[in-house]
């Protein structure tokens, strides 16, 4: 079945005339029909539209027209990316029926490159969560064990990609929302440097932390997708104005004399032994490949979660203020007055975790508390950035676990927000510092659940980071393992 092919394989086989885009799309759509009722990776599937896109790719191929990098590649996108087709729900009742009049910049770029967009994937409401249980439309399940969560917030994209319900997907990462579900589902997930990918059309959660990135089964596919979506966008003032480097050409060339830093703060208590062991083995692999392994310190890591849960909710409280029932989105049925319209529309439209974060953030920005919370968190942010700057003087990349645990069962943490927040303990500092980070599969637990290695690098080091990840992938076969799916 063609849905098992990677994006690069599909691209190459279509180019060689071995397969058609139509068959690739059809196979993905069939796989979705069979498996998605059990997984709920997708919020919406655009079967007809996808088939029309695939047919257009095949016609262009027959006519000998130039091909885009993603010509005919079936892609899933997270349902917080604005599209002119289908709804853009953010898995929230608030935006259940919201139809965007414009496409996100990344969506335009995907389509210009010839991608076939299969559908939009489930997420924790407004990307707030680490398990995809906070979706207003029901949770997504982990393809390796449907009793377990896929991680979050890009759990739908992770599950769809791992379960071969698409060739590759896009997610968004504010505190780990690409890397953590990638880890829990055993796929590759890359959170680019802040500013590398345009945020225009990504429904904002925390603007200074949000980045869109690829979620794929292979490192090569991550490079391919990043090549397409990266680049300056005049619609995003925070996007990086420099030209995009070539991520693909030298991908297979191993890095020489690379120094890998092991932060003392990213080990020890709270990490499952199997996770620690798998990470140690992966580091050992690099060592055997000639990498120098050096200890580094990131002393302010312990304040990362606290700073993150001030900064992200503060920005969210402002970003989500627009959902008020006045202009679009959910509106309460019979408001008594303007205040009631606001209060009731928001109380009905937002789920408990979103409401919790709006309240946290509003409090942190309030007069009299601003200095003690928001300003202090910004100072911690500077210290965390400095930690990384200093660490990257001693090493080229940092290796650590993406998640302290493998996938946990549904409901295991949903009653305890603080436990849930600790899922992000190894991922948030990367967003706080604006540096790139990626997850690659590096093993499985006894229970058959994936374990992920996180690689962190200095800003705009994606080209070399992908090569480092590829070094590992070339000598391991974790990425070729397939979850056994329940069939409809």
């Amino acid at each position: 079945m063609l849905n098992e092919l990677t994006a690069l394989e599909i691209h190459n086989k279509i180019a060689a005339g071995e397969i058609t885009a139509t068959t690739a799309a059809q196979d993905c759509l069939s796989a979705i029909t069979r498996a998605d009722p059990h997984l709920h990776a997708y919020n919406a599937v655009f079967a007809d539209r996808a088939m029309r896109q695939a047919e257009a790719v095949d016609q262009a191929h027959t006519a000998g027209q130039p091909r885009g990098l993603l010509a005919g590649v079936p892609i899933a996108i997270k349902d917080n990316l604005c599209t002119t087709f289908g709804a853009t729900t953010c898995s929230s009742k608030m935006l259940k029926n919201f139809h965007s009049p414009y496409d996100a910049t990344v969506v335009k770029k995907l389509e210009q490159a010839g991608a076939v967009i299969l559908g939009k994937t489930n997420l924790d409401e407004f990307a707030m969560g680490s398990s995809t249980e906070n979706s207003a439309f029901g949770p997504t399940r982990n393809p390796w064990n449907t009793q377990c969560v896929p991680g979050g917030s890009s759990g739908g994209s992770a599950a769809a990609t791992a379960a071969r319900l698409c060739a590759a997907s896009l997610g968004s990462d504010t505190g780990g929302s690409i890397r953590q579900p990638a880890s829990l589902c055993g796929i590759v997930g890359l959170k680019p440097t802040y500013g590398l990918v345009s945020r225009y059309g990504l429904v904002a959660f925390a603007s200074s932390l949000d980045q869109i990135g690829p979620m794929t089964r292979t490192v090569g596919d991550a490079a391919l997708l990043l090549q397409v979506i990266a680049g300056h966008d005049p619609w995003d003032s925070t996007s990086w104005p420099e030209p995009v480097p070539d991520y693909l050409s030298d991908l297979d060339k191993p890095l020489e004399n690379v120094r890998i830093g092991l932060p003392a703060e990213f080990s020890g208590e709270g990490i499952e032994p199997e996770v620690s062991a798998a990470i140690a083995k992966a580091v050992d692999f690099y060592h055997r490949q000639g990498a120098k392994v050096v200890p580094v310190n990131l002393p302010h890591t312990k304040y990362g979660i606290a700073a993150y849960y001030v900064i992200a909710p503060a920005e969210a409280s402002s970003n989500l203020a627009r959902y008020d029932g006045v202009h679009y989105g959910h509106r309460t049925a019979r408001p008594e007055n303007l205040f009631d319209l606001y209060a009731a529309s928001r109380a009905e439209g937002f789920g408990p975790e979103v409401q919790r974060r709006i309240m946290l953030g509003t409090y942190a920005l309030s007069s009299g508390y601003y200095d003690a919370y928001y300003l202090r968190a910004l100072r911690v942010r500077q210290l965390i950035k400095r930690d990384f700057d200093q660490a990257f003087e001693k090493c080229d990349f940092i290796a650590c676990p993406t998640s302290p645990t493998v996938a946990f069962e549904l409901g295991a943490k949903s009653g305890d927000p603080l436990q849930m927040y600790l899922c992000d303990v190894f991922t948030v500092t990367c967003n706080i510092a604006g540096i790139p980070g990626m997850n690659i599969p590096c093993g499985f637990s006894q229970t058959g659940l994936p374990i992920g290695l996180q690689i962190l690098g200095p800003t705009f080091s994606e080209q070399r980071m992908l090569r480092l990840a590829r070094m590992y992938e070339k000598h391991h076969d974790w990425h070729t393992r397939k979850p056994v799916l329940p069939q409809a």
Binding site: F98, A204, A321, Y370
Partner: protein
């Protein structure tokens, strides 16, 4: 310090102004949607203006430059780095429920202007700051409807908020400041300054220092919101001064000296009404907008903008008085509009005698412009008339050298309006208005006038009281006989010679 009647205390008025100026950019403050007045409701919007999910703001460079121009005109310090902050409050005309503004790093810092006053003097008005922000939309409340409608055409319009120190000490000064600021903005081309369209909105902050029983009592500051005419500024300030004074006199023992309340102006009733007490003041939860990067302003950029700042009305008035020898009133009239003053300067630079030029501008040109306005809402400026600087210069020259009389100049001017291509001298010729200096012809006109007016001759010769008047009368009679073509100087000479004979 104002003095009231003997029974009442003395007091000093302190007025500081907050002024919102809509900048006349092509597009809006943070997106490419058109920036313009009118159109169907919600026609000048795009996803950014609507605050749709996923949109991001991008700074309009032209708006920053226009704001810098005003800042430089007000002698403000231009910040080397400025940033953008979100000001949060819920209102249906604010789609994002926050306004992008500048909180603690305004684009323009402290400055001042020398405000000309009605008595011919001037006073220094200090500027505290001026910053950029985006305007909100409008709510439409239609009669008989239980719901309000939202029009977001105005939303996202670039706004420059200028804040003065409380240096204005009377309602008249407040009005004069507003008028001067409007002139400055129009000169700079950053605003059309059409008050009816809300291009400028004023919010005076007023309080009194009352000196009574040997003590100084400071009344609580009130801010009057959203005044959009100069008359309203003056009236609202006057009302508020009297209201604060009356409030003090009624309850001197409970006069609050802290806090600030907000009042609205009811133009029909001619009074201010309480809108919000201090206790209800908003917590705007300002924080830096993470969607925008701080703006670094290189000194080179500031200098480039400074070099583009035109001569401002205050400087121009001074030059017209000092260099051209105009009266204060003449200079004021000619510099009111930049286009008129520019036309005047061009004509003057072509060598036109300034006195004749001034008379042409303030005489026939002003009259024609005034008459050309078809209704009250439209204004036609002298510079809108089809007469060019070259024509003004030649016409003024013609009067100066005695080619035509001042009376004839008016007729030539009217001819030029109807025949924009015409040359003033040729027109004067064509109209038969060129002065005739022929001795015999002039003598004939003099004789004709004398023959027709024996009584005036008698008065001139026999009644010393009427001597001058009758001479003037006879001179007029000669000019009339010549149909305005006689040279007044020659007429005078011949007339006096004949009368003495």
């Amino acid at each position: 310090m104002s003095t009231t009647t003997a029974a009442e205390p003395q007091y000093k008025v302190l007025i500081g102004m907050e002024i919102h100026v809509q900048l006349a950019t092509q597009s809006k403050m943070f997106t490419g949607a058109a920036n313009g007045f009118g159109g169907d409701p919600n026609s000048q919007v795009d996803p950014v203006i609507l605050g749709l999910p996923g949109v991001l703001p991008v700074i309009n460079k032209r708006a920053v430059e226009m704001a810098m121009m005003v800042g430089l005109a007000l002698n403000c310090q231009i910040a080397a780095q400025t940033k953008w902050d979100r000001k949060s409050y819920y209102y249906p005309d604010l789609p994002k429920n926050y306004q992008i503004s500048q909180y603690d790093q305004p684009l323009c810092g402290a400055g001042s202007i020398e405000l000309p006053l009605a008595d011919g003097g001037s006073k220094t008005v200090r500027i505290r700051r001026a910053h950029l922000e985006e305007d909100a939309g409008k709510l439409l409340h239609e009669a008989g409807m239980t719901e309000s409608l939202v029009d977001l055409n105005r939303a996202g319009t670039p706004l420059l908020e200028i804040v003065t120190e409380p240096d204005l000490t009377s309602p008249e000064e407040a009005r004069l400041f507003g008028e001067e600021l409007r002139r400055i903005c129009r000169y700079l081309g950053v605003s059309h300054g059409i008050m009816q369209q809300g291009h400028m909105r004023f919010e005076p902050n007023i309080n009194l220092h009352i000196y009574h029983h040997g003590k100084t009592i400071k009344t609580a500051i009130t801010e009057i919101k959203n005044l959009n005419s100069f008359r309203a500024v003056e009236r609202a300030c006057s009302y508020e001064i009297q209201r604060q004074l009356a409030e003090y006199l009624a309850h001197p023992e409970v006069m609050p000296s802290q806090g600030k309340s907000t009042r609205g102006w009811d133009d029909d009733k001619g009074m201010t009404l309480l809108q919000r007490e201090k206790e209800e003041a908003h917590d705007y939860r300002y924080f830096p907008d993470p969607d925008l990067v701080p703006l670094h302003i290189a000194p080179r950029w500031v200098e480039a903008i400074r070099s583009g700042v035109v001569e401002l009305p205050i400087a121009r008035r001074k030059r017209y008085q000092e260099v051209f020898g105009m009266s204060a009133k003449e200079a004021f009239s000619l510099t009111e509009e930049r286009a008129v003053a520019d036309l005047f300067d061009r004509a003057a630079s072509l060598g036109a005698p300034v006195r004749r030029l001034t008379n042409l501008f303030l005489g026939p040109a002003a009259k024609m412009a005034n008459e050309a306005a078809t209704d009250q809402a439209t204004t036609v400026l002298i510079s809108d008339l089809p007469v060019t600087a070259e024509q003004y210069a030649r016409l003024a020259q013609l009067v100066e050298t005695g080619g035509i009389s001042a009376t004839s100049a008016v007729m030539v001017f009217e001819h030029l309006i109807k025949h924009p291509e015409a040359d003033p001298a040729q027109a004067a010729e064509q109209l038969g208005l060129m002065q005739i200096r022929d001795q015999n012809q002039t003598e004939a006109w003099v004789m004709q006038a004398l023959a027709a007016n024996p009584q005036a001759i008698s008065d001139y010769k026999n009644n010393p009281k009427k001597k001058q008047a009758s001479l003037g009368f006879l001179r007029g009679a000669v000019m009339k006989a010549s149909q305005g073509k006689a040279d007044p100087k020659l007429v005078g000479e011949i007339l006096e010679a004949k009368l003495k004979a």
